[in-house]
Symmetry: C2
Subunit: 351 residues, 2 copies
DNA sequence: CTGTTAGCGCTTTCAC
DNA sequence: GTGAAAGCGCTAACAG
């Protein structure tokens, strides 16, 4: 009927006594510091094990004295999604201060490998942890590895560099996100047959490429009545996206679905809308895109957009901080908690 | 280019000096403890304000000495969703121990107001915080209020008692969840017209009633071609749900959608399947239900179920702990972080 | 009403 | 290699 989830609260001193050594030695073993005879190490480890001893984080935190420094390396452009992440970090100020954590924002051109790598190099050695929205490029990979070698904990944020030695990736599985988008477009089209348009920023961006890959997978295997048109590259710009899409809609009268892989949403919506106005008899185009912003929220409510695939920016911001903190403290990461889910957002479950 | 989110790390002593008082007095003011002249209070408050001082949580935690005790009051039956919550709490053991938090599970019959209230009464005074899966009933409300009066922090979990003085509710907005289910059924049916079946545990349960309410709202306003049949009450039991649904499917040949509000999923799936087998020519029934369990996961992968509305049980478990901790410490709650979202889960974004 | 003081359980010098 | 001891910034007695 009642059951407890926690173990007796021993202290370092208890372990020290039980292992027949001093506090300092237990501390050394606990943190794998050198200068302890292997035999002693074993004795201490045993005692820790036997009691399933957990050091008190609060005490550890207090004793170390100095505050921790984390840096967030973010794109400098006016990307609403990134701005949301920054805003959510801002909301954590009190929480951060109460834990003596210093978070610094560093903006840079994350789309230029050399510039990004240079920014990362300047951080070397000064930070306990670095979160970076990373471009997947050899130069950047090297810079990340250098940071790791210099002793910083590194997490990639939103966009990963899997080949680097970063400690953790905070972001979604973009192939699965693309698959989800495909399933939604396919299902919401509702059995009609026709063509599907895809607008991306650039197929050179890893996340965009992966999303398109997943999208095509699902379309090919599950919706044979729908044919996917060649990807339009709108560079995440409104005007360009609008023009390209408007032209495409003009050429194909039987477009029933649209997947907007990146930003440029305003332009995409515009193109859709103009068409709807001018060509009365035409079927509604199912429109699926990414991220919940002020704009996509409005489009969802208006029924212009049907669904948004979203990675909760608040969650990403907080997860990045928590993961860096856990890594810095040597605590285990709650993987389930820090995993970023692929959210499907429709009008009625808007957050 | 670089910007810091945190403020200088002052200490209580600094504030004391600046306000011309002692440590103890600052501490009293900080915790609104009595026995300080109003004028002194003001002076101290000013100093705190001026420096936007944040006490160091680690130090506070360490100094108070004793561990905190939290109780989780959960249903005693074999409900997979509740079991998941318990499992996720179990995964936090190390995290909890490292913070000297004791979490105890108390199981009881949460569907019997008197029994539940009695269980709550026994906890009075012994816990810093209590999380409870609550039935919305006057007796339970009174028990919750008593706990609050006795000094415990109380959060309702999954199922709320809005009229009580509980400090927080950790769970989803069930009306919105029902609306989401409605939108999904309506959209996934894909323009066909016909009837929609609804299977619930009982309309007496607040969460079920709210979901049905939201579901009907959307169906009535947005999908006039679909008519919702009277709710079947399956009591969350497999057999009963199967029988009722099978009979209904027999009587109405034009059922195109199904909303399963609660549990009994196995039975519901069975009824759908049998029908599919026996009546070859019949249209696929769009099936939307709640929660991602081993069973619903399988059904989604098999294509029997089309979507699950889910409230992340891991998130609920951790949010409940974090909220109780923040409340106990007098820290602000990160509302955005602790909010439970309505997740739409389809095959391709299964967590 | 206000101040003094002894820890809380670690980390970190500095000695041996 | 190992140990002793001085704090870290608070809280909670207790004393005035």
């Amino acid at each position: 009927m009642a059951e407890t989830l926690t173990t007796a609260a021993l202290t370092l001193k208890d372990i020290a006594r039980e292992a027949g050594v001093s506090l300092a030695t237990v501390d050394r073993v606990l943190h794998n510091r050198p200068g302890v005879r292997p035999d002693t190490v074993r004795r201490v480890r045993d005692a820790i094990e036997r009691n399933s001893f957990q050091p008190h984080v609060a005490a550890a935190e207090l004793a170390r004295g100095r505050a921790r420094r984390f840096a967030f390396v973010m794109p400098s452009g006016p990307n609403p999604f990134m701005q949301q992440i920054e805003a959510y970090l801002g909301e954590m100020t009190a929480w951060l201060s109460a834990r003596r954590l210093n978070v610094e924002m560093v903006t840079t051109d994350v789309f230029d490998a050399a510039v990004l790598a240079a920014s990362l190099e300047t951080l070397s050695g000064d930070y306990d942890g670095v979160a970076v929205v990373a471009l997947d490029h050899p130069t950047v990979r090297a810079a990340i590895n250098d940071l790791v070698d210099a002793g910083s904990k590194v997490v990639t944020l939103v966009s990963d560099v899997p080949s680097s030695r970063r400690h953790h990736y905070v972001g979604i599985d973009n192939i699965a996100a693309g698959r989800t988008a495909g399933a939604l477009v396919g299902r919401l089209v509702g059995g009609r047959s026709g063509k599907v348009a895809v607008v991306a920023g650039s197929q050179g961006l890893r996340d965009h490429a992966e999303r398109i890959f997943g999208f095509n997978q699902v379309m090919a295997s599950e919706f044979p009545d729908l044919s996917v048109l060649p990807v339009l590259e709108g560079r995440d710009e409104d005007e360009r996206s609008e023009q390209l899409l408007a032209r495409l809609l003009g050429r194909h009268a039987d477009i029933v679905g649209l997947y907007n892989v990146g930003a440029g949403t305003q332009g995409v919506a515009q193109a859709l809308n103009n068409k709807a106005l001018s060509e009365a008899g035409r079927d509604k185009v199912v429109f699926v895109g990414h991220d919940v912003t002020a704009l996509t929220r409005r489009l969802l409510l208006q029924g212009v957009m049907d669904a948004a695939i979203s990675q909760n920016p608040g969650h990403e911001a907080r997860a990045a901080v928590r993961v860096l903190l856990a890594l810095a403290r040597g605590e285990p990461i709650l993987r389930e908690q820090e995993k970023i889910r692929i959210d499907i957002v429709m009008r009625d479950n808007l957050p």
